[in-house]
């Protein structure tokens, strides 16, 4: 067990999977010699050589499409999109192709592909280096979308994603990369894709969230605990398809639910979470389902004033939690 950063857990999972399985390889922009613009693939080019850590031309649709082709014949490509914002040119390949290959071929073909991409704001990335893009893909059966919050989860879920026989989008919060540290076992382990994780038990209110916001909720929960309010914090971990059981269980238990995302509010992941609760445990609720999210503007601006206004933080979460607890 070693304490390591979120990004080091990414690198560790990649390295171990590449050591374990010859069919795993990495492709993307600047992932080779440079080791990625965030250094997520640092050292892998040196260890595994150019043929398994491929610097591609600057063309995301090809990155996804070439990876899909390789995956269909038995490879396990891990494609990196340099920023989640730049996944857009690859949407056709991801939605029309990767997501539908198994289904359209009646289970004859499949596509064991992982697409990793750093998402999220708070790093002066402005409109095009701060976006949360998960909602764009979160209505495409055939895809899975994983968004881990801790180094431990990163390692276990990235391994599971690489071993998964279907395409997985794996979004890593870029602000978490160096900010979030935690224990990561040296040994090999997988965490189940499709399962949420209760990161903190509590009886009074439920906060359901994912990614970096999990930490904000946990910090806020500690403060509330000092005032005798015990919050349950559910980390979705997989945001598509959602773990309905876990959502329903926690919502039913506490009857007060706050949903948090860094994304814009309308049409976000937490909208679906709210819908699930409203469908399944309406009569267990003691308060309206609260959603706390970024404002409905195109993306996070550059100026620190505006970035702060947009970005989620522990204070905003705490305030919403207190309001809900007092409801």
């Amino acid at each position: 067990m070693a304490v390591m950063s979120y990004i080091d857990a990414v690198t560790m999972a990649l390295r171990e999977e590449m050591e374990r399985d010859q069919s795993v390889f990495i492709l993307g922009e600047d992932v080779g010699k440079k080791g990625g613009v965030f250094k997520a693939t640092a050292g892998l080019y040196e260890q595994f050589g150019e043929s398994r850590v491929l610097d591609t031309p600057l063309a995301e649709s090809a990155i996804a499409g070439v990876a899909i082709g390789a995956a269909m014949v038995g490879k396990r490509p891990v494609a990196e999109m340099q920023f989640a914002d730049f996944i857009m040119p690859a949407v056709n390949q991801i939605i029309s192709e990767a997501a539908k290959i198994r289904y359209r071929s009646n289970n004859d073909w499949n596509c064991p592909l992982v697409i990793r991409a750093p998402y999220g704001g708070g790093i002066h990335g402005a409109l095009y280096h701060s976006q949360s893009v998960e909602a764009i893909f979160a209505n495409q059966p055939g895809l899975k979308i994983v968004m881990p919050s801790t180094p431990y989860d990163v390692k276990g879920l990235l391994k599971a994603a690489i071993r998964d026989d279907d395409p997985v989008l794996f979004f890593e919060h870029k602000k978490a990369y160096r900010l979030i540290k935690g224990d990561v076992p040296e040994e090999d382990y997988e965490l189940p894709i499709g399962k949420a994780d209760v990161k903190r038990k509590g009886e009074d209110i439920t906060v359901i969230t994912y990614g970096l916001c999990v930490h904000f909720a946990l910090q806020a929960a500690e403060k509330l605990a000092k005032d005798g309010i015990e919050a349950e914090v559910v980390d979705l971990r997989t945001v598509y398809p959602l773990d309905k059981e876990a959502i329903i269980e926690s919502a039913s238990k506490t009857g007060k639910v706050l949903l948090v995302t860094e994304d814009n509010k309308e049409g976000s992941i937490i909208s679906e979470v709210a819908a699930i609760i409203a469908e399944h445990c309406l009569f267990d609720l003691d308060a309206p389902i609260q959603r706390l999210a970024g404002p409905d503007v195109p993306a996070m601006p550059y100026a620190p004033t505006m970035e702060k206004y947009f970005m989620m933080n522990p204070e905003k979460v705490e305030k919403a939690m207190r309001e809900l607890a007092e409801f």
Binding site: A59, A64, V66, I68, G69, S96, R104, S105, D165, P192
Partner: protein
């Protein structure tokens, strides 16, 4: 008529087989239209006029190891690669047994893993990067196979063509890009589609050789594709081949081509219908006798009849099968 196939090492036997495959594809296509016009199948997309290039190319490949990524008009390619008339009929009737998709996709969306026919979709040109990825896997694993992908001239204007071709060029991958230039993309003629004179003019931009050849001549196409396959296997990278032809039918059974092209133009093109010209070739070079031809037509008719009957009677997928195969079947400890 000059015997051109011997020179490039093609036996009479193979050439006869090539003609037979073209004829089979044509007769099958014709039957599909009849079935459509009589209300038995909802949709046809046709390869009439493109069989020469398809068969010439398919026969030049190694049909025991190469991967193919055909587009929707490539019935002749997939027939050459082992898909049966019955398979195609099952797809046309959207029956459960359809090996392409279990009745899920429209006809023309080929896929059959056992024959290395890679599953395709409707959005055009997405298969081009896939072919490149399959070629990349060959290079990585030092395998001998080649990956072969086709597309229309209209589709060569999609970004995926550019990105895929450049990727293949940079990494010198064993892939053959074959454009079936049938001069129309639905209603849009090639000169409103392509700023270049030829699609093959784009090859230099991807560091690969590019050729524009007569797509009505299967021998010519065979020669170029064989050479491209050899290059690919020698590790010398990709090739772009543009085959010139004419789309003899409307775009699909939903299209009426009279609204955008002169019927005289179509009639004129029919004079160089590759089925007629190649028939002339095999007859005059003595590859095919009249008797053999009759037998061939007869056998083909029988195959198609049987396949039609079979497919018509085969059951549809059960409605609950709609829910199958979204993800891998759950295994213990596995994912969703």
């Amino acid at each position: 008529m000059e015997n051109r196939h011997e020179k490039i090492g093609l036996t009479d036997e193979t050439v006869r087989k090539m003609y037979e495959t073209m004829l089979l594809a044509r007769r099958l296509d014709e039957r599909m239209w009849l079935l459509n016009r009589s209300g038995k199948i909802p949709f046809v997309v046709s390869g009439q006029g493109q069989e020469a290039a398809q068969v010439g190319a398919a026969f030049a490949l190694d049909r025991n190891q190469d991967y193919i990524l055909p587009y929707y008009r490539d019935a002749a390619v997939v027939l050459a690669f082992g898909m049966t008339v019955k398979d195609l009929m099952l797809a046309a009737f959207a029956k459960a047994e359809d090996p392409n998709s279990g009745g899920r996709q429209m006809p023309g969306h080929f896929g059959q893993k056992k024959n290395r026919i890679v599953t395709g979709s409707s959005p055009v040109t997405t298969q081009v990067p896939h072919a490149v990825g399959i070629a990349l896997a060959a290079k990585m694993d030092k395998k001998e196979y080649v990956s072969f992908v086709t597309f229309g001239e209209g589709s060569s204007n999609q970004g995926d063509f550019h990105e895929g071709a450049n990727f293949a060029g940079v990494h010198k991958l064993p892939v053959i890009f074959l454009c079936e230039n049938n001069q129309y993309a639905i209603s849009v003629p090639a000169d409103k589609q392509l700023a270049s004179v030829k699609v093959s003019d784009r090859a230099i931009g991807y560091g690969m050789p590019g050729y524009t050849i007569d797509g009505n001549d299967p021998i010519e196409v065979y020669r170029y594709v064989q050479e491209a396959a050899d290059r690919a296997r020698r590790g010398e990278g990709p090739t772009l081949i543009e085959t010139m032809m004419y789309r003899l039918t409307p775009h699909t059974s939903d299209d009426d081509d009279r609204s955008y092209r002169e019927m005289e133009e179509v009639e004129k093109a029919k004079l160089s219908d590759p089925l007629l010209t190649f028939r002339k070739y095999v007859k005059e070079t003595g590859v095919l006798t009249d008797e053999q031809e009759q037998q061939m037509e007869h056998a083909i008719q029988q195959i198609i009849n049987e396949a039609t009957d079979y497919a018509e009677q085969a059951p549809y997928p059960r409605q609950e099968q709609t829910l199958d195969f979204v993800y891998a079947e759950k295994e213990q400890g596995g994912a969703v």
